[in-house]
């Protein structure tokens, strides 16, 4: 009875089988690389998150095997579940690229672009998003919206001007703490994260709002202006914590612990503990344990080679697989069926050679001598 049903879904011409109920975004993340749409508001560990930022919009070119009609509008991949036989276009769709560029522009419209003085710089999702999908200049010529800074207790600073209203911190407070004191006030382009009257967020797990914030709106006051993240060496460490899993990343310079964060995976989300639970960390671990002697250091944290944080530090394999020679190896053992028909594109490649039929990697030999093997 409890046999799991699997659906076949094709995203950017790569087919994968996923359990029914998986969202397009999760399926795309299983494929990895650029096939995974960016997500600014969705957070797999927070129930109900997603759907708001619209950066993960994709085109559904074929609804399912049963109902092959394409979906009329682009859909939020984080909140749309796959159907059997569904065909999705992410970066292969001009519509998606265009819409995403629009969303990036909207998100940056009132963003202060104060990256040079922002603690989030270097690990900011909005920076990454703008770099990947944005344009180099803005067409906005009006005054940008600003808010006053707020202290949310002694450890957390709210810099609303940078906020993109992803609602993640609201979900975090709802789901990790028993009493939420901050929320979204006002509406439309005046909406803001606030406590209404100055209140401090003092729940033992509230520090996690800093980790879930995709931008520099919520920052760690014990770390503010202390250092740039790319000067620090991230180290995985743990301690025996009575409150949380105690599994963290320390950000060191020399022997000094500058800050403590939860461990984040390649999508910027909190990693699961070995028991399979989200590895949220408590405020004590985050704000108060700033001595190396508080921790058992496991070793350097693997950081994506693309990240500025990895510059000059460690090579790693988070977020990007090191290129190897063969296409198959790069793509996790998958042989591409058809990515581009060179026959249509080039006279140089011999038209009688069907590239789709070449097994494994093709070399000069394939074309020069071994056509018969193709």
């Amino acid at each position: 009875m409890s046999e799991q049903i699997f659906f076949k879904v094709t995203i950017d011409n790569i087919t994968i089988e996923v359990p029914a109920g998986t969202t397009i975004l999760q399926a795309a993340r299983q494929i990895g690389g650029t096939v995974a749409p960016p997500a600014m508001c969705y957070y797999s560990k927070l129930q109900g998150s997603g759907g708001k930022c619209r950066t993960c919009l994709v085109e559904v070119a074929k609804g399912s095997e049963k109902d092959p009609r394409p979906m009329p509008k682009l859909v939020a991949s984080c909140r749309t579940t796959v159907m059997d036989g569904m065909e999705v276009k992410n970066i292969t769709s001009d519509k998606v690229i265009d819409a995403r560029a629009g969303v990036v522009e909207f998100l940056l419209l009132n963003h202060p672009l104060d990256c040079p003085i922002c603690d989030q710089a270097g690990e900011c999702h909005l920076q990454d998003l703008s770099f990947d999908h944005g344009k180099s200049a803005t067409r906005y010529e009006f005054q940008r919206r600003t808010f006053k800074k707020h202290d949310l207790g002694k450890n957390i600073q709210l810099h609303m001007t940078r906020c993109i209203l992803c609602y993640r911190c609201v979900f975090t407070a709802d789901q990790l703490t028993n009493k939420r004191v901050h929320g979204i006030l006002d509406r439309g382009d005046h909406a803001e994260i606030a406590t209404h009257i100055e209140k401090s967020l003092d729940n033992e797990f509230i520090g996690n709002v800093i980790d879930v914030c995709p931008v520099g709106a919520l920052t760690d006051k014990t770390f503010r202006f202390k250092n740039r993240v790319w000067f620090l060496k991230p180290m995985d460490a743990h301690r025996d914590c009575p409150t949380c899993s105690g599994r963290v990343t320390l950000w060191n310079r020399g022997d000094e612990v500058y800050r403590v964060t939860a461990r984040k995976d390649e999508w910027g989300e909190i990693e699961d503990t070995p028991e399979g639970k989200p590895g949220w960390i408590c405020n004590t671990c985050r704000f108060d344990k700033k001595e190396t002697s508080d921790w058992v250091i496991e070793g350097p944290r693997a950081i994506s080679r693309q990240s500025v944080i990895a510059q000059g530090h460690y090579a790693g394999n988070v977020g990007m697989t090191k290129p190897t020679e063969t296409f198959k190896a790069v793509n996790g053992g998958r042989t591409p069926h058809l990515l581009l028909d060179i026959h249509d594109e080039s006279e140089v490649n011999q038209p009688q050679l069907h590239l789709g039929k070449i097994h494994g990697p093709s070399h000069g030999d394939t074309f020069n001598n071994k056509i018969e093997n193709a």
């Binding site: 009493k179 939420r180 004191v181 006030l185 006002d186 209404h196």
Partner: protein, 180 residues
């Protein structure tokens, strides 16, 4: 004439609380929803609270509403700040909410708004010095066929002309005089 201190004292003693009749109405509102869904009554209860406590929702009022509905205060702040009919700042005794959207605009609401500003000597969002009138510019109130128009309390004043505006101002001035 009350001195500042006694006003403070009065506030303290009165502290925000529904009287018996208001509480009965509040209970009636909550009873319309299934058991455990009392948060659904939030909008109507906020209306009731606004009417009961000086026409606006102070933080104390909102905290009180939260306690009545057994929800967190932030949930009340979130909702109260979302909807345009809740005043989060003190307002005058009578609030002129003048519509400025398309259909009213094509029927000449601009002139009416300018005229009211001149007559009351206040800008939109302000309250007259005597605390009687507040002028608010609002978006479509669903009286497009009877434009230009404004809402005062529960009442719609439609087909506005300068003469009508004069009459309305006089009418509410005298009402205010009776009350005070």
């Amino acid at each position: 004439m009350l001195c500042a201190q006694s006003i403070e004292k009065k506030r303290f003693y009165m502290s925000i609380q529904f009287n018996e009749q208001q509480m009965a109405e509040c209970k009636r509102l909550i009873a319309r929803y299934p058991e455990g869904k009392q948060k659904s009554a939030l909008l109507p209860v906020l209306h009731l609270a606004q009417e009961s406590f000086d026409g606006w929702l102070s933080t104390e009022t909102m905290d009180y509403v939260a306690s009545v509905l057994s929800i967190e205060p932030i949930e009340v702040y979130e909702v109260a700040s979302f909807y345009s009919m809740y005043n989060l700042k003190p307002v005058g005794q009578f609030v002129f909410e003048v519509c400025q959207t398309g259909p009213c605009m094509v029927s000449g609401s601009d002139n009416i708004i300018t005229y009211i500003q001149q007559q009351l000597d206040i800008k939109p969002g302000e309250t007259t010095k005597d605390g009687i009138f507040t002028l608010k510019l609002v978006e479509c109130l669903g009286a497009c066929g009877y434009a230009p128009m404004m809402q005062v309390g529960k009442i719609y004043k439609e087909h506005l002309t300068k003469e009508k505006v004069d009459a309305i101002i006089t009418e509410y001035r005298s009402q205010a005089a009776v009350k005070n």
